[in-house]
């Protein structure tokens, strides 16, 4: 019996994507469709005194009185709700915030019309960063500027720190980034007389459908969200945006289809941004390098409003919870603050919370190694949770269901030939060349279930996924799922799962785009949940179809269901292979020729799956860099990964996800900065200034070894795909620090920063491990 799961089969969706037949939201055409453009605030903080509109279709907040704002809920202490009206009402809080909307026959004309809208602003003092937001007398963006705070203590960290032989402290600053998918956000909306259709390239179709219904005061069954082909999401497209609400409202108001497609300037300045945290980390350790305690203060610059559904708490809380990582640390205290500023809201971006948590922790571990003059590999080895300790509860309360932390470290060192690299590094240094080796070991939460979202307080995210598997009368199979794809290859990977369950060729399994009228309810595609939560639902539904098919076959073959066995394309009676039926015959029987009342019609099943709280993947990354001490350029010479993401559905796709994540991580480490000046004005408004990596920024080769330790989840899968983005910034930062022998405490590592570090590193013998930077 051939199995398709685990094989590197080329993707089904590629045939249309390669030939220009993908249908992205900008490609949709409906008769009479109008184009939409937004008038956006040029000020980070201002009162709106008046809006004077020329003749034409121009709408403002006053027109959307009955439309409810974006106000995600959170259960638990420390949360200050915010409400973002879809068009700014009275005050604007970030450059790019939508203030008015215009409609015209073409986007060209819409932009012309938008320019004629005269908004009279009274600028208010901006709050451009966290320090400004927290200073006494700061302008208040809401009733307070702290949108979320949380503290946690496990064990007696203060006691441990008082007694510790070694304390290492560092402050890590991650820069503000943005996901920058090649395709921006977009919406087409149309009310056909009874249903509001909304085509949107969202990662969370069920949630958006419900949120739009609530916002617009419609029953959910009257709102239909359809997800077209999507050009990348990376978390940015999982949120509900003001534009989605406004465009949907316009469809209701105007009675014609309306289309809005975000341009690059809007994407870089008005879509949710990411990261920008200041993490103070302290490690208490023994002189043998054993970690005893961890303390952290995490302050996130979360922009002007909470994002829906995950809120501003998502990113900084994620950092706090993942910070102990794969290390056995018994005592931990953290404090988290999410602080509002006059910037666009901070949302999800590949590696949410984990990227910065791993960056902070891995930098601290390397500093500890430097302080104790131990090899960074050895320090890690001494502290990684060993394989025998699972399930392991971390000091932040996360329960690691399984892991191969030590094995991953050993494997990546073997893959990279670590000993040889260190020798090469020494030789190079003698010749005046600076090579650096950087490690990042991490554990990653994936496939989160409802328990986790409830425990966090994130009430807007359900946690389950759903799948419907329906066999058509001709035996082909149609699969509807609750989660959309943005390039991950679900049309293939999910088909592979069903193909194996029903012993059908992949070509006869079709995974449909998400349409809330046909797809079951679920949470969406984010936080690496598709191969756990999504696959769980698909396997459950396919499993039920398989049982029913077996029962139908049994009726046709006049045998007991348990005596029916499967083989590719046919079912037969055990021990009597001549007594067989094809799968097509079973399907036909289900819908056309029913064997005399013994089997009821239909061959489909719907299943929901709420995964366990979390399923953990882990990996160890190793980066080798060359630093030009005179120009500050950093080149990535080699990159090695030992990854355990459980059982792999499609190795080609897994490899691609890893490379893509690594590219984003390299971008974050060296290039990307959604910078704002002291007046709250964005500085990176085009691709000339927001620098995402090209092929040259990638190493020529990334060597990977997979440790496929199956999870306990259906199929043995774990989530993956964020790994590269989680670990690469830390691996590269550590490598640069290793090369220049000076601490790296902020991103991006620009040539200028490298030159500064090279200057400091050349001042030999100065221990900077206690530097607050």
């Amino acid at each position: 019996m051939s199995q398709v799961v685990g094989r590197p089969i080329p993707r089904v969706e590629d045939l249309r994507l390669l030939t220009g037949r993908g249908r992205y939201v900008a490609d949709l055409r409906l008769g009479g469709m109008q184009q939409v453009a937004f008038v956006r605030s040029p000020y980070p903080h201002a009162r709106i005194r008046s809006i004077r509109a020329p003749d034409g279709r121009v709408y403002r907040a006053a027109d959307l009185q009955d439309v409810r704002p974006i106000a995600p809920r959170w259960e638990g202490e420390g949360f200050l709700p915010t409400a973002q009206p879809p068009l700014a009402e009275g005050v604007v809080r970030y450059v790019g915030e939508p203030v008015a909307v215009v409609v015209a026959p073409t986007r060209y004309a819409a932009e012309d019309l938008a320019e004629q809208v005269r908004v009279d602003y009274e600028p208010l003092p901006p709050v451009p960063d966290v320090d400004a937001a927290l200073s006494p007398g700061a302008p208040r963006l809401h009733s307070d500027n702290v949108l979320y705070r949380r503290s946690h203590v496990h064990g007696d960290p203060d006691g441990v720190f008082r007694r510790a032989e070694v304390v290492v402290r560092t402050v890590i600053r991650s820069s503000r980034c943005t996901a920058a998918p090649l395709e921006g956000r977009g919406v087409v909306a149309w009310h056909d007389g009874s249903t509001l259709w909304v085509w949107t390239n969202t990662q969370t179709p069920s949630l958006i459908r419900s949120a739009l219904a609530l916002s617009l005061g419609l029953p959910e069954c009257a709102v239909r969200v359809v997800v077209p082909d999507t050009g990348g999401g990376f978390g940015q497209k999982m949120h509900l945006y003001p534009e989605e609400i406004v465009v949907s409202w316009l469809a209701l108001r105007l009675g014609v289809p309306v289309q809005w497609v975000e341009d690059r300037r809007e994407n870089l300045t008005a879509s949710a941004q990411a990261r920008e945290e200041r993490v103070e980390v302290e490690l208490a350790a023994g002189t043998d390098g054993r970690l005893l305690g961890l303390r952290a203060r995490i302050v996130g610059d979360v922009g002007a409003y909470h994002v829906y559904p995950t809120t501003a708490a998502l990113e900084p809380l994620g950092v706090a919870q993942i910070l102990p990582g794969p290390y056995d640390i018994p005592h931990y205290a953290y404090e988290v603050l999410a602080v509002a500023t006059n910037k666009p809201p901070t949302g999800a971006y590949r590696g949410v919370g984990m990227t910065v948590g791993v960056l902070a922790m891995e930098r601290a571990v390397d500093l500890l190694a430097t302080r104790l003059r131990l090899d960074p590999v050895e320090v890690r080895r001494r502290n990684l949770v060993s394989e025998g300790r699972f399930p392991y509860t971390s000091a932040s309360g996360l329960v690691y269901d399984g892991g191969s932390f030590r094995e991953a470290l050993e494997q990546v060192c073997a893959l990279a030939d670590y000993e040889h690299l260190r020798k090469e590094q020494e030789e190079a240094r003698r010749r005046g060349k600076l090579l650096g080796i950087g490690l990042a070991c991490y554990v990653e939460y994936t496939g989160l279930g409802s328990t986790t979202f409830r425990r966090r307080g994130m009430t807007e995210v359900p946690g389950h996924e759903g799948a419907c598997v329906r066999v058509e009368p001709d035996g082909t199979v149609r699969v509807h799922v609750s989660f959309s794809h943005q390039g991950q290859g679900h049309e293939t990977t999910l088909a592979q799962l069903v193909a194996d369950m029903l012993h059908q060729p992949v070509e006869r399994i079709r995974v449909e785009r998400v349409d809330t009228a046909a797809s079951p309810h679920g949470s969406g595609t984010f936080a690496s949940r598709s191969s756990v939560a999504g696959a769980g639902a698909v396997l459950a539904a396919a499993g039920r179809v398989r049982e029913r098919a077996q029962a139908i076959a049994a009726a046709l073959l006049e045998a007991a269901p348990e005596d029916v066995v499967w083989e590719e394309g046919r079912l037969f009676v055990r021990g009597a292979p001549h007594r067989s039926v094809t799968f097509e015959a079973v399907a036909a029987a289900a819908y056309r020729i029913l064997p005399g009342g013994s089997v009821s019609p239909g061959l489909e099943a719907v299943a929901y799956f709420d995964p366990p709280p979390a399923t953990f993947s882990n990996a160890a990354h190793l980066a080798v860099v060359e630093v030009d001490a005179r120009t500050g350029s950093v080149r990535i010479l080699g990159y090695f990964v030992a990854e355990d993401c459980g059982r792999i559905i499609n190795p080609l796709i897994v490899r691609g996800q890893l490379y893509g994540g690594i590219a984003q991580g390299i971008g974050e480490a060296l290039l990307e900065h959604a910078a704002y000046d002291d007046h709250g004005q964005p500085l990176a408004t085009t691709f000339m200034d927001y620098l995402i990596p090209t092929v040259w920024e990638m190493p020529e080769d990334v060597r990977v070894v997979h440790l496929q330790h199956p999870s306990d989840r259906p199929g043995g899968f774990k989530g993956m795909a964020e790994g590269g983005a989680i670990a690469a910034p830390a691996a590269v930062a550590n490598a640069v620090a290793d090369a220049v022998r000076a601490p790296v405490t902020r991103l991006p590592i620009t040539p200028e920063l490298v030159l500064e570090l090279v200057c400091r590193g050349s001042r030999d013998g100065v221990d900077r491990t206690a530097d607050p930077a």
Binding site: R11, L17, G20, Y108, G487, Q488, Q657, G661, T694
Partner: protein
């Protein structure tokens, strides 16, 4: 001939079409909207990302930086000319086999650059491939499998001819 609105004849993928467009309308928008050829995508509209790349008289150019009126009298080639799901062009076939795309948004532009590239570099080195590919931004793939796909395409185009 007016200065703001023109009727132009565009030759795209071997066929000539007469369309009436504003003179400020970019070639990318004219292809997508007036000719319904939505395979050419807009990723930035300032010439950096390369998603809108088409061939103009056989050479790769950013169609977001050309006005439709400028393309009159020239040959435009878009991704739709390469192949169909039933008959992939060898370059498309190579991308398919080597997972040279994920979301597919940047892909048509890269395919068009590759068509030109392999005509002029039938036996490319990795560095030559990367030099050409550096004119394209991809956020999904991390590029490595794209390079592999282009190497494979070079071998296969070399065998079969462009």
């Amino acid at each position: 001939m007016t200065t703001r609105l023109r009727t132009i004849r565009l030759t795209v993928n071997g066929s000539t079409h007469e369309i009436t467009v504003e003179t400020r309308k970019t070639l990318a928008d004219a292809l997508r909207e007036d000719l319904g050829l939505t395979g050419t995508h807009l990723g930035c509209e300032h010439g950096v990302c390369g998603a809108c790349t088409v061939l103009l008289d056989g050479r790769p150019v950013r169609s977001c930086l050309l006005f439709a009126a400028q393309a009159e009298g020239h040959e435009v080639t878009t991704v739709e000319a390469l192949g169909t799901p039933d008959r992939l062009h060898p370059i498309q076939q190579a991308f398919w086999e080597h997972h040279g795309l994920q979301c597919g948004f940047c892909t048509p532009g890269i395919l068009m650059s590759t068509v030109w590239f392999l005509q002029h570099h039938p036996h490319p080195t990795r560095d030559e491939i990367r030099e050409m590919l550096a004119g394209h931004l991809c956020r999904c793939t991390g590029y490595l499998q794209i390079v592999e796909a282009i190497e494979a395409a070079a071998r296969s185009v070399g065998r079969k001819g462009p």
